[in-house]
């Protein structure tokens, strides 16, 4: 079997828990749009998944796509395809294991970003 992160060559790549890098995660969370995404996902925990459309973000569709990709490659969210929708889930367990307290700090700040929109 393949111990790497992706199932096939064209599958979405998700870094392993051990591969998460603090600066990469911080850079991913250090953007209002992405932080808002994380806060919304935290509100549907656990096991809550949201399609990209449901976020009503103030940026274009292609920019949203890029933000989700950044979050996924940083290891902040997990994405899976279901039909034509791409469902997003917060990687709470992995983030809590590697950087305990970070999400609890970031999520309220993300809610504040949303409140300002």
């Amino acid at each position: 079997m393949d111990a790497m992160a992706s199932r096939t060559a064209t599958e979405l790549l998700h870094p392993d828990r051990a591969q998460l890098r603090f600066t990469t995660v911080l850079a991913a969370l250090g953007d209002p749009v992405r932080l808002a995404i994380v806060a919304r996902l935290a509100d549907v925990e656990p096991d809550g998944e949201l399609a990209c459309t449901t976020f009503a973000l103030p940026v274009s569709k292609s920019t949203q796509s890029g933000h989700f990709k950044t979050l996924r490659e940083a290891g902040v969210i997990r994405q899976r395809d279901e039909g034509t929708r791409r469902l997003n889930r917060l990687r709470r367990d992995d983030l809590d294991a590697r950087f305990p307290g970070l999400l609890d700090l970031a999520i309220p700040q993300g809610r504040q970003v949303i409140a300002g929109w």
Copy 2:
């Protein structure tokens, strides 16, 4: 008196505690070089100040200048000029007040970055 952040027009600008923005601070910390700077400054707390040269960073002088500026404008460090040296100090009190726990989370990670150099 002037309630703003800078003393004169040409002085270094430092955002007020109330003006600190979470995403800006996170973006500032989300870079290995800058996180290493923060960790080094934390090791000389409290009241410890370090000149830019003392960091031995793996980037050019002009790039260092830019990183210090990013940290200062994000409100992470405070800079003051003494002769030809620019002394840097961590804004621990302001950061702890606005984002409690963040520095305690980031500093060990910054030390790890340095250890990997």
